[in-house]
């Protein structure tokens, strides 16, 4: 099969996937207590539907919102609601959360009825996905029902199985172990967006996933697996639609208007589960990994399980001088607090030992080596952006298209002067947004 890729920029980054890529998905025992944030997605937060003292069942809806761009949240264990209060969020700060204490039951979700997706109307499919609270599980956490509620047909459904972030293997394992559900999920999403072409992009370093999914997709009309070159950030939506569907993103235009709806493969499987068995988004596959993690692996983890608890279950003892990252190492966030719970958008928990961690890096002025410019997949000038961001020159930042940066992090990774380029960019963006809003308001 022909291997596709994106043309501009990108970088080869060591992938560190060997720790977990061959470890089958296993279920982690349910914790005694879960902390379920009422907002785990982009969009409006949910209002709680339960109160302190209520008994809840596994999979019961405990929070919802009337806003279109939002997604309900569900109880991941059965038990009693002990508190509804702000709790630490992994993004920093606090977030309103429902705390549930386990009743010691089996804690498995049991489908009340089996449904045949093919006999359901598009409206019913969308409704089932909304009710299940499915959001983008590749990290973006955008509500899926909002994404697939399109008014006119979309040419391509592009499924993201690139998993280009180093260390992560949760999508890889799901493709290997649940290819049937993936292909059936793709059919559901294709109906929702009235598309007849689906491209499933998978990086070549996962031949078993390519084979498993290709086999299941063989008899499915319009669904094709596209092997992708191993190049970061192959899984970013702009690069993915170029490689897998030959489409290009345009500033200010929704991807559906350039002919693509992009979903992560894990999300697609979750959509199938939601439609076929009414299973809500109350647990997910998370890669727990790192060179020193004794029981690294791909685990099904209940939403709301404390990160500290997850690490303890994986045999992690002391974390002195370690860095714990939620998500992949290129774009994920370092944690200061392990009290936060796993949410729908968490792909991995990464434990970096002290020898892979640099606490305070001294950086120097830009020496104009041009490496960030050569490798920037968005064809920006990260060198200029970092200099203007450091000097807080916001007009210049706008002129150099700072908002086109999707923060893949290659520039910082590659900079010989050790400049935290993408960090500078990230820090400057809120001010730019404020300026743009002010300009639009005039």
């Amino acid at each position: 099969m022909e291997v596709k890729t994106f043309k501009s920029g990108g970088a080869h980054i060591p992938h560190y996937k060997s720790y977990t890529e061959n470890k089958p998905i296993t279920r982690m025992a349910a914790p005694d207590e879960v902390i379920i944030p009422l907002s785990q997605h982009l969009g409006a937060p949910c209002e709680p539907l339960v109160k302190v003292g209520d008994k809840v069942e596994v999979g019961q809806k405990i929070g919802d919102s009337n806003e279109f761009i939002s997604a309900p949240v569900h109880a991941s264990i059965s038990g009693t609601v002990t508190a509804i209060e702000p709790r630490p969020a992994y993004t920093g700060g606090e977030i309103m959360s429902v705390i549930i204490k386990s009743d010691g039951g089996p804690q498995e979700f049991v489908a009340k009825e089996k449904r045949d997706p093919e006999k359901m109307s598009v409206e019913e499919l969308r409704q089932a996905i909304r009710e299940a609270g499915i959001v983008g599980m590749g990290g973006a956490a955008f509500p899926t029902h909002a994404n697939i509620s399109v008014k006119k047909p979309v040419e391509y459904l592009v499924l993201n199985g690139a998993e280009c972030e180093p260390f992560l293997t949760c999508d890889h394992r799901q493709m290997v172990e649940r290819p049937y559900e993936l292909v059936e999920g793709a059919k559901i999403l294709m109906r929702c967006i009235d598309s007849h072409k689906c491209r499933i992009g998978i990086e070549e370093n996962k031949p078993d996933a390519i084979q498993a999914v290709s086999e299941k997709a063989r008899d499915a009309a319009g669904i094709e697996v596209v092997p992708l070159a191993v190049k970061y950030p192959q899984g970013n939506k702009d690069q993915l639609i170029e490689a897998a569907a030959g489409k290009f993103s345009v500033r200010g235009v929704r991807s559906s208007d350039v002919g693509c709806i992009i979903r992560n493969v894990g999300t697609t499987i979750a959509c199938y589960d939601a439609v076929a068995s009414g299973k809500p988004s109350m647990e997910r596959v998370v890669t727990i990994t790192g060179p020193t993690v004794p029981k690294s692996g791909n685990y099904i983890i209940k939403i709301g399980t404390r990160i500290g608890h997850v690490l303890k279950e994986c045999g992690v003892e002391s974390l002195d001088g370690y860095k714990v990252v939620l998500g992949g190492p290129m774009t994920g966030m370092a944690l200061t607090d392990l009290e936060a719970g796993v949410v729908k958008g968490v792909t991995g928990i990464l434990v970096l030992p002290p020898d892979m961690v640099q606490e305070e890096v001294a950086y120097s002025d830009c020496v104009r080596c041009g490496k960030c410019v050569d490798h920037c997949p968005m064809l920006l000038y990260p060198n200029e952006l970092s200099r203007y961001a450091e000097a807080e020159m916001y007009d210049a930042l706008m002129e150099w298209n700072i908002m086109d940066c999707m923060e893949c992090g290659i520039c910082s990774y590659i900079c010989p002067a050790q400049r935290p380029i993408v960090h500078f960019i990230r820090m400057a963006k809120p001010t730019i947004r404020k300026m743009q809003r002010a300009a639009a308001g005039k």
Partner: protein
């Protein structure tokens, strides 16, 4: 679990191993072959000149940074590299204090006073070298007794020859092209062996520090133009400072354009200037002047070759942009 001592730093959490110091050290390594050939021909004169310039570079950088209250930065090897490059731009038997003065100007004025590494517009080593030529008449005014201040390590039989470039200009009998390419003493220390420079350049390519665009466009332009002028291009390529200039000076990160297209324009323009110097103007330091002149044009080249963002609507005219269609409908 103790989570008080978790390390918190912004993404990305991986870093490749490149550093500025490592890159500069690699360039110094790449200059070892040509330095060895120079030492072979010029013995202690070469060793002494290189030592004087490198020492001056280190002292100058230390002093200037100290005076500005900045952290010393010697760990990045850039001062040592500038010192070595300046030394290689001089004949081994040039007066040592000229080398020292050129290095002082290179590191102190062309680099540190411009804001330090990254902010200088002109290649420091070439700036230092050329400054000496420009201020030579002033030195003569100060006193000819300065000129007698020179090192003497005894006679080296190759020092009094005319440089190949001068021989070419005067129509003298030239040494064979093979000899010029492999090793032939004459002129500046860097001019003794294009082969040795090529070896070093190959190492820089291999390490990913330089790209082909600038050197190839300079060499190709010189070859084509000298051919058009009815001369043997190989004599031009293998003499004078072209190899050092094309591979080590014009490719200086700080002072060359950042995009590939810009690099090509830069290289072609340097090639044109070099031939202009050689065929029409004085043959001395034509390469140095050509590169320095084009250094000044880098901001202009950058502006002219600026690429647009990957998602810029200008790249995808077939896609309707919301808001803009309304604007055209109104207009």
């Amino acid at each position: 679990m103790d989570n008080q001592k978790l390390v918190f730093t912004p993404a990305p959490h991986l870093k490749d191993e490149s550093t500025v110091g490592q890159a500069m050290r690699d360039v110094i390594i790449a200059l070892i072959p040509v330095s060895l050939v120079a030492v072979y021909f010029f013995k202690f004169y070469a060793v002494f000149m290189i030592a004087v310039c490198m020492a001056t570079a280190v002292i100058t950088e230390w002093a200037f940074r100290k005076a500005k209250g900045k952290k010393t930065n010697l760990g990045d090897y850039s001062a040592l590299l500038t010192g070595l490059l300046v030394a290689l731009c001089f004949p081994a038997t040039a007066r040592w204090w000229m080398g020292a003065l050129a290095t002082f100007i290179a590191v102190g004025i062309a680099k540190e006073m411009m804001g330090g590494i990254g902010w200088n517009r002109f290649n420091p080593a070439l700036f230092g070298r050329v400054a000496i030529i420009v201020i030579a008449p002033i030195i003569m005014l100060i006193g000819t007794n300065l000129l007698s201040l020179s090192a003497n390590f005894g006679a080296v039989d190759v020092v009094t020859r005319a440089t190949p470039l001068a021989m070419l200009k005067q129509g003298m009998q030239m040494p064979s092209i093979a000899k010029l390419f492999v090793a032939y003493p004459g002129g500046a220390m860097s001019e003794v062996s294009p082969l040795a420079l090529l070896l070093g350049a190959a190492y820089l390519f291999y390490r990913g520090h330089i790209k082909w665009h600038i050197p190839v466009s300079i060499l190709a332009t010189v070859a084509v133009l000298t051919l058009v002028a009815g001369q043997n291009p190989l004599y031009h390529l293998f003499t004078g400072g072209i190899f050092l200039g094309a591979f080590f000076m014009a490719t200086d990160w700080v002072t060359c354009p950042i995009t590939d297209k810009g690099k090509l324009i830069f290289g072609v323009a340097i090639g044109v200037l070099i031939v202009l110097f050689r065929v029409v103007l004085a043959p001395t330091e034509g390469v140095a002047f050509s590169i320095l002149i084009m250094n000044a044009f880098v901001p202009l080249i950058e502006k002219a070759t600026r690429r647009v963002s990957y998602i810029d609507p200008a790249l995808r005219r077939e896609v309707a942009i919301p808001g803009q269609e309304r604007a055209t409908a109104k207009g």
